[in-house]
């Protein structure tokens, strides 16, 4: 596999900062390019790479109509799909993944191709804040979001009764998701906390740029960060009349971006459930503070 064909995964539980990370990468590459004149266009420029669960992509790789297979039949095949130099469309090198690294149906294999993959950036965010963000994104009550974070069978399923443009993405419990990516040893991994992306932007994104082999000049990183701040992204979302990845009922994709909303919005009971259910992973990543059981 040549350097030209190398690719990366940007993996995360949904609503953990994956899109911000992709926008940052796009902006950093734009600024470092020959013609950085025009402003970033969210809907046109963010196509850094196909989502690994895309049905069209899988159909192409497998040579069949994937609708003719069940999700449990697809999971063991998905990791083998695309293990070649022709993995993704030309120029697309950073691929969003919300799946856990393995699924209960994948026969112990990763659900994404690892052949030729240079590594994975795993982005995680305080599960309390994830719950609030999920609630806005899917228009779900907070309690449902908390239950979903604790559900060992949680998955993104567009539908097994109507097809859908993506296949099932098994996530499992939030801590299982985190561990599946952070503790696997098949791909080099850079772990980034959303909270550090916000509070220690230069340091965190410089590590990201170095890990991905992208330009890491301090001024470029700072400029890219400024251009992709939440306020700028909100303005850019307004400029394009709605970000394409936003569900219809969701008012806006880029909403608040701040940390600590979960602690404000969740009930004590909901916070305790998360803290108890996810304690090991939350402690490991410094999310274990001051919820009284």
């Amino acid at each position: 596999m040549t350097e030209e064909h190398s690719y990366w995964y940007l993996a995360s539980y949904p609503k953990s900062g994956n899109t911000w990370c992709r926008v940052f990468i796009t902006e950093l590459m734009r600024l470092a390019g020959d013609n950085p004149g025009e402003e970033l266009n969210l809907n046109q420029d963010i196509e850094t790479g196909a989502i690994a669960s895309s049905r069209l992509w899988l159909d192409d790789q497998l040579g069949i109509n994937s609708c003719d297979l069940s999700f449990s039949e697809l999971d063991p095949l998905r990791g083998g799909a695309g293990a070649s130099a022709w993995l993704f469309a030309e120029g697309e090198r950073f691929h969003k993944v919300h799946d856990a690294f393995k699924s209960p149906d994948s026969h112990g294999r990763p659900v994404v191709s690892t052949t030729g993959c240079s590594g994975v950036v795993y982005i995680l965010r305080h599960p309390e804040d994830v719950a609030v963000s999920l609630s806005h994104f899917y228009s779900w009550p907070l309690d449902r979001c908390v239950a979903s974070l604790l559900d060992p069978n949680a998955a993104l399923v567009q539908g097994e009764r109507f097809g859908g443009r993506q296949v099932r993405q098994y996530m499992g419990r939030w801590d299982q998701h985190v561990s599946s990516w952070c503790d696997q040893n098949q791909l080099p991994v850079l772990i980034m906390r959303y909270e550090d992306m916000l509070a220690k932007g230069l340091e965190t994104f410089t590590k990201l740029a170095i890990f991905l082999g992208l330009p890491n000049d301090e001024n470029l990183i700072l400029q890219a960060l400024e251009n992709t701040s939440i306020d700028r992204l909100k303005k850019l979302e307004d400029d394009v009349g709605g970000f394409a990845e936003k569900p219809a009922k969701c008012e806006r994709f880029f909403r608040s971006g701040r940390t600590g909303e979960g602690a404000e919005r969740l009930t004590l009971d909901q916070r305790i459930r998360l803290a108890k259910g996810l304690s090991d992973a939350m402690t490991r990543f410094d999310y274990g503070e001051d919820v009284d059981a």
Partner: protein, 335 residues
């Protein structure tokens, strides 16, 4: 020895050791051009695979191989022979034929030099329309609605078009998802699933009006599904509520746009490339784009709305539908 079953599909007489209810039975006395029979993948000669191959799909000129873990091995060669082998005894004939009559026969047709597209074709009054679109674009649902309105099915999922512009009868089967079957008020509990465990049902030829003769292609529609609760497909007309409940057709695509769309909708472009047939695809798609008009067809996402809106238009007359702007038509060509 059991006498093989005979069928005619995608322009070829077929002899098969599998019962294939998706295909039109044939009583032709002439020799079959295509043989479908059980094989032993361990005996298949080694292959110098094209770089377009994947772990599932091994490709070389005139040689196509599919290995589907848990289901079986398939090999199409020389446009004449399709071999299959079960993964193990738990694999049913239905499992095998699901992939044999779609990807397998499609690969054979490409090897024989046909233009094979992802689409569904229907006939009325001796003329055919072709609905182009990837899986889950809504082709089968739309086709089922049209069949209730006097159209006949020529082929679903994949469509072969001859060099003289005839749509060749192919897959006489529609696959409908559970939600579509419910919305169309079908008695889904009586329908066989496409494969065991899938919430997707097969409507076979015996339950459908099918066309058995090659039919001149009059119009091509590139399907675009409007989202019921979002303005994303709607662009400038996002405010127009009728957008969500009515079919719309664009003006003719330019030939260049039509050609790109046909290439994008080739039945597995990777197979064409891997079997060294991309030049063939380009020439045939260009010829078709020159001779048959193509329009975007914006289809309501909501199935009942789709069925209702069809009653108000004539798909043989694109002008009978509300027109889309040229800009949107070009967008619709963008996969």
């Amino acid at each position: 020895m059991i006498k093989p079953h005979r069928y005619c599909a995608l322009g070829a007489e077929i002899s098969s050791d599998l019962v294939l209810p998706e295909l039109q039975a044939s009583d032709s006395a002439c020799d079959a051009l295509v043989q479908i029979q059980q094989g032993d993948h361990g005996q298949w000669p080694s292959l110098e695979p094209s770089p377009h191959s994947t772990p599932t799909l091994r490709l070389a000129p005139q040689d196509w191989r599919l290995e589907l873990e848990g289901i079986g091995w398939f090999r199409a060669t020389g446009g004449e022979r399709l071999e299959w082998q079960r993964w193990d005894d738990s694999v049913s004939d239905r499992d095998i034929r699901t992939f044999a009559v779609t990807s397998g026969l499609g690969a054979l047709a490409i090897q024989r030099g046909a233009l094979v597209l992802h689409g569904t074709a229907l006939e009325r009054d001796g003329e055919a329309i072709l609905l182009l679109g990837h899986p889950v674009a809504g082709k089968s649902t739309l086709a089922w609605c049209l069949l209730q309105d006097g159209w006949r099915l020529l082929s679903s999922e994949l469509v072969a078009v001859s060099p003289d512009g005839l749509v060749l009868p192919g897959m006489h089967q529609l696959k409908l998802w559970h939600d579509a079957a419910v919305a169309l008020e079908l008695n889904w509990s009586q329908l066989p699933p496409v494969r065991k465990g899938l919430k997707r049902y097969a409507l076979l030829a015996q339950d459908l009006d099918c066309m058995s003769q090659p039919t001149p292609l009059r119009l091509i529609y590139a399907l675009n599904r409007a989202k019921a609760d979002s303005g994303q497909e709607d662009d400038a007309e996002a405010e127009d509520e009728s957008e969500k409940i009515s079919l719309k057709a664009s003006d003719d695509f330019s030939q260049t746009t039509a050609l790109m769309r046909l290439r994008n909708q080739a039945f597995h472009a990777r197979m064409y490339r891997g079997m060294d047939a991309e030049a063939q695809l380009f020439m045939q798609a260009a010829a078709l784009a020159r001779t048959v008009p193509m329009h975007a067809l914006i289809v309501p996402d909501e199935i009942k709305a789709m069925a209702e809106s069809l009653k108000k238009v004539d798909l043989m007359q694109p002008e009978s539908m509300q027109q889309r702007t040229e800009a949107t038509a070009e967008d619709a060509s963008n996969d």
